[in-house]
């Protein structure tokens, strides 16, 4: 029981430390005090995250059950707030300026949606405590929960943050699948999604369309939309087996690679540490996610199990999309790499999620 606590904590801290090293390496040469001290901010965020991890791991997770609707309301409130008066950065309105830092509510919203869906599908019959979700029809099993998810998702896509929006969609499908909902409904949902694709294409912004086209063929616009992918592939590939060494990555340090300390931090890392370093990193992430799945399998409480799986998948999908996009195997969407990318909201949200995960494993033992 204490086992999973320390395994998760140690893996998370190692990844965070690797992240800080990479952030330092990509920014220490940039002009301006702000850039050169950015790694210190990340250290601060990780420390703050650690505190949240400890708090959450000690707070019995069942309180989330009771507070779900409040959390949902809070998430919606912040997303609306972003919509109304968010800070525009890099052409997107994703941040809320609170005191001295910028807060990105969509990071937390993802977690809250996982909590909400877990709760929704694990309600029980009053009489025989059997799961309600097995008896759900198409309205209660599909339409209603989707409406709940669609509002924050729409707000996030509108920011625009296609990556987080898509992630929520993937999470929704995943939780549907993991709940005992009839497979028929899930297929219906997927069918509708596929049929809606042409409509979605119309809604997409020009730059998003460009990115998707560029993903199919990065060379159509090597200096424009395809630039990032090409530079990222060059960065990763030039690392070869042993890498160029810490602080020696030319792609990331000489600014050939944009967003080298946030979305493309994996490319910066792979350039300096090579195949060996990246393989170790992949293994660490896999072990972290594996811990989540193991916890779910050990948990008897249905809500706890769904939540643990949801959190693991949330991390897994995010890691997968981010690294695949770094490797040029997925379109460029603005998703950070959990625990590594620079950004307070993401670090905090991830540590909170990990804290909940650990607590699920702890609470199980109490029963």
């Amino acid at each position: 029981m204490r086992n999973s606590y320390f395994v998760i904590l140690i893996i998370a801290l190692i990844i965070a430390a690797i992240g800080i090293l990479s952030i330092y390496s990509t920014t220490y040469q940039k002009e301006g005090k702000l850039w050169q001290e950015i790694y210190k901010r990340q250290i601060l965020w990780v420390l703050l995250g650690l505190t949240m991890f400890i708090i959450m791991s000690n707070l019995p997770y069942r309180w989330l059950w009771d507070w779900t609707y409040f959390l949902n309301a809070a998430a919606l409130f912040f997303l609306f707030l972003v919509f109304m008066l968010g800070v525009v950065r890099l052409g997107a309105q994703r941040w809320l300026k609170i005191a001295w830092f910028n807060f990105q509510p969509s990071e937390l919203a993802k977690l809250i949606i996982v909590i909400f869906l877990s709760r929704y599908f694990s309600r029980k019959e009053v009489y025989d405590t059997s799961l309600l979700s097995t008896k759900f029809g198409i309205f209660r099993g599909l339409i209603l929960p989707f409406l709940f998810v669609a509002i924050p998702m729409g707000l996030i896509i509108e920011q625009p943050d296609l990556g987080s929006g898509l992630m929520i969609l993937f999470l929704f499908i995943a939780v549907l699948y993991l709940s005992k909902l009839k497979l028929k409904y899930i297929f219906i949902f997927l069918l509708i999604m596929i049929l809606a694709l042409p409509l979605v294409w119309q809604i997409l912004r020009d730059y998003q369309k460009e990115r998707l086209l560029v993903f199919l063929n990065p060379n159509i616009d090597p200096l424009g939309a395809g630039y990032t992918v090409i530079q990222s592939k060059i960065a990763i590939g030039s690392g070869a087996i042993f890498g160029k060494g810490w602080l020696s990555g030319t792609q990331s340090q000489l600014h050939f690679l944009p967003e080298a300390h946030t979305d493309f931090i994996f490319a910066s890392f792979a350039e300096e540490w090579g195949l060996l370093g990246s393989a170790v990193l992949l293994i660490l992430y896999y072990l972290l996610i594996k811990q989540g799945v193991l916890i779910a399998q050990r948990t008897n409480d249905y809500f706890g199990r769904l939540l643990a799986l949801g959190i693991s998948l949330m991390l897994g999908i995010q890691v997968f999309i981010n690294i695949a996009m770094n490797l040029g195997l997925a379109p460029v969407v603005g998703l950070p790499l959990p625990l590594m990318s620079y950004g307070g909201s993401c670090v905090l949200a991830t540590f909170v999620a990990l804290g909940i995960l650990v607590n699920i494993d702890r609470t199980r033992a109490i029963f």
């Binding site: 995943a174 699948y177 993991l178 530079q231 592939k233 060059i234 960065a235 990763i236 590939g237 030039s238 690392g239 070869a240 087996i241 030319t250 792609q251 000489l254 600014h255 050939f256 792979a270 350039e271 090579g274 195949l275 990246s278 393989a279 992949l282 992430y285 896999y286 996610i289 594996k290 799945v293 779910a296 399998q297 199990r305 799986l309 693991s312 998948l313 897994g316 997968f320 690294i323 695949a324 490797l327 040029g328 195997l329």
Partner: protein, 571 residues
Amino acid sequence: MNRTRIVNLIVIFMFLFLSLGLLNLEVIQGRRLRDLSDKNSIRLLPQIGARGKIFDREGNIIVDNKLSYDALILPQEAGQPDKALAEGARILEIGLQDLKNAFNNGYIAPSVPVVIAKNIGLKKAIALEEVKFDFPSIIIHPSPIRHYSYNSLAAHVIGYVSEIDRWRLTKLADYGYKTKDIVGFGGVEEKYDYYLRQEEGGLSVQVDHRGRFVRVLGFRQPRQGRDIELTLNLKIQKIAEQNLADRKGAVILMDPYTGEIIAMASSPNFNPSVFSDKSGYSISGLFNNPDAPLINRATSGLYPAGSVFKLIVATAALETKKLNPSTTFICQGSMNIGKQKFSCWDTHYRQNLIGAIERSCNVFFYRTGLLLGAQTIHDYAIKFGLAKPTAFELPYEASGFIPSPLWRKINKFKNWFDGDTANLSIGQGDVLVTPLQITRMMAVFANGGYLVTPYVVKAIDAKDISSYQRKITSLHFKRSTIDYIREGLRDVVLSPAGTANVLADLAVSVAGKTGTAQAPGGQPHAWFVGFFPFKNPKFVICVFLERGGPGYLSCLVAKQIIGMMIEEGLI
């Protein structure tokens, strides 16, 4: 199957997918992507060394290098290049628009300085250097360019330098030549470009994504080109060119024993510095000039030999014993061969070979030629090195031509007549020679029967290469033949009736032969070729005037040249 386990499998699959992607990029494509990454961030800034100098045989500098100052603008420092350009335009007195065009056309990357004006002169360079504090983007870059101390002196032997052309580039790319390289054109500059050429050094620098300089990675010192010492004597070269002056033609002075070229002048000539200064107008003028000033007439000009060819006929006749010193022919001003009348330029009556050489009698040589036959004359001309290049080292040497009955039959489907033999005997008809070939022919008589290979480069990088350059072959003529013709050549000058008698009153004993080569449409070409001093020849001289009139005029030029050489104590 349990849905949780399926999800677990999907997660494993996702990580395998990522691992394969990583393997593909870092191992399979690793080398190619590493190259691309280096290309992104490493730039080479070339630094040019100085081309080798060229000296004459006494160590006087003919060509060296001077510093030329180019004005450059470094875009990454410029901020607003317009202001720096405006200041540049004010100081350089060049139109602002021209500078802007030069800047925009030359722009490559922020870290690469753009040349906005070349060869701006020391004063303007200093003036620009003074405003550098306000305009840090302005760079004054000194680079060595060719400097010709004597302007056009020996221009044809030296050649000129200019940017490499496409033809040379395709030929020389394997030897490390690149576009925009400065290479030699014509003369020693072209032939010995490999030695004269400096080796480019350079700075390898790291740049960032906008091409701005980050740090120096490495530096290689440029290597200077090797110096070349010529066999030319500048003073004699000057005298030769001075006397050729505005006339078209060529003057060659050669050492008869070794083949060293002491002077080689071709007129009209050109000033090679126009190619370094890049004044487009004067360059195109050189190429378009109908007088072809870039052609070295001494080695590449082809002309009928005229009477100087008679020496070959005389040698052939003596060697084949068709004539002996006492054989005489009567010249009555003309003779009939077949139905055609072949005339002489005068009426010489009875004379032997010496007399015929002395007065350059055509009839005597018609008869000698008919005795010999065209093929024998042709073979002797080949022996004297005509109809093929002399193997002189400078490029673009012409080979010339000597007709023969066989050639006529094969190539023209025509028969050879006695009239053709007569024409060949006096060096007319299809005979074409270069002044250098004739000079070499005369050297055979000067040195007693040896065919030399002319050369002009004496030493490379202070290492004497004369022993490689000297290629002397004996023609195995009888001593008596040579002596007899030498006597005739001396008489050409000494005898009051000799065609070069005007040279008799020089303080040095000259021997030689004149020639007045008829050419269709206009004045004949004037030849004088000889050697001096008569007893122990030090120089063979050839004066050729293209469409210069009778050979007598060449004698006058030769007289002036030899006279001035005596005056300056050069003999």
